[in-house]
Amino acid sequence: MSATANISVTQDNATPAIARLMERTQPARLAQVCRQPLETFLRVHLRSLPTNKRGWPSTGFWESASRGTIGTANDDGSILLQVNKLGVRQRLYGGPILPVEAKALAIPISPVSYGHLPREFPGLFLLKTAKGAYLVQAGTGISEKTGGEVKGRRLGGNSKRRQTAGLNFLFKLSGGVNQAPNPDVLPTNDQFQEVAMESIQRSLAE
């Protein structure tokens, strides 16, 4: 003996709900849902990266990288996050940095020269020592008699010496450097995925 059950649908609420859910889970829409949170997440991450380890005045590199970040949602459900800042890739992957037009790299070795170029400092001259070649600038001081600038006068004191020493060592010349990679430049894939899943779950719960 068999039993059968007849089910008659008097009101179909399931199909519209399923259709709505399917529409909300389309790849293109999910990309729209995730784009803004992922872009903001990456911008905050870049902004939070530490400045130079010497504690010299910041050049604002990571803020500039954060500002240059934009996300694009594509119809195939993919999201493109772009960081439009020269130097970010170099810091992420590392690698050699070699002079291209000049004969040597000029590496800043002073908070005065950090973030600047040699041509911004008038009167720079080459000084070769046993430890290497440097671009130095004659120090300046203030004449107590006339109040004008005089060169090569020592006024003493650690803080003043940086600016008013007989010679200010500003750049060290180098034939090239090999920069180590820094994977912390970008969040991990797991972190990106977590942000994306949170935004999708929030959206589907609406």
Partner: protein
């Protein structure tokens, strides 16, 4: 007294008389003849000392072209000096950059264009994120008064009224934006609210754009607010369809120069 005696007298009075100075003195005193009275000597000395003082303590004087010509300095001379100054400033790329503050302007222009790009992208997901929240993304030593104090007590709100958000909300007629700040301490408004235009245009340091950076060196930025949160905050009804911002693409980018 003779000229020689006059010069000796000036030296005694402490005026360092170099050969060039002596020649200038001769030219000046020659107007009074070979013999120099004490009064004449005093006049010459005073004129020299006044000239020295004007160099040591210069004061600005705006002169008309006619007055310049009257004292013997022709407009051509003035122009020549100005041209020489410009050539000196523009004699090198560094001079040009420093004279025109190009680094600063290029940085601002770059930030504005980047902001414009995110503004346009933000109009494509209005259904998902109908509003923006203004918040501080980059720290500043001296932040502008965007929302006043963070608190919602009377004193804080009074200072908040002086904040830019309230001023812009009032100008835009966006009562929801003002209410949300008062109730939650957050600066949130729909993307099509005119408050974003006001934030970028009504202050002296505004750059003229409806998106961040609203002002130069600003550390503020915006983040999308999900639809559900907008409904919860009373910005939208449950079945209301949000609208993108109204803008003219040709006028989208301004550097307020």
């Amino acid at each position: 007294m003779t000229l020689a005696e006059a010069i000796l007298e000036l030296k005694k009075r402490g005026l360092p008389v170099t050969p060039r100075t002596e020649q200038a003195l001769r030219d000046g005193i020659a107007k009074y003849g070979d013999q120099v009275s004490q009064d004449s000597l005093d006049q010459v000395l005073k004129k020299i000392l006044d000239g020295v003082k004007s160099i040591a303590h210069p004061t600005e004087e705006v002169r008309s072209p006619e007055s310049i010509a009257e004292v013997g300095e022709s407009p051509a001379t003035v122009r020549g000096d100005a041209i020489r100054t410009l050539l000196n400033d523009f004699s090198s790329p560094e001079g040009i950059a420093q004279s025109m503050n190009l680094d600063f302007k290029i940085r601002i222009a770059t930030e504005v264009v980047q902001g414009a790009g995110r503004f346009l992208m933000g109009q494509t997901d209005v259904d998902e994120y109908p509003a923006w929240e203004l918040y501080r993304l980059y720290a500043r030593k001296v932040p502008r008064l965007w929302a006043g104090d963070e608190g919602t007590d009377d004193k804080s709100l009074m200072s908040a009224f002086a904040g830019r958000w309230y001023a812009a909300a009032q100008a835009a007629g966006d009562t929801d934006a003002a209410r949300i700040l008062q109730d939650t301490g957050r600066m949130i408004a729909l993307k099509d609210s005119d408050i974003w235009n006001e934030l970028g245009s009504m202050f002296d340091d505004s750059l003229g754009n409806p998106y961040p950076p609203f002002a130069f060196n600003s550390g503020m930025d915006v983040d999308g607010v999900p639809r559900a949160e907008c409904i919860e905050l009373g910005l939208l009804d449950a079945d209301e369809k949000p609208e993108p911002a109204k803008f003219n693409i040709a006028d989208l980018i301004s550097f307020a120069t």
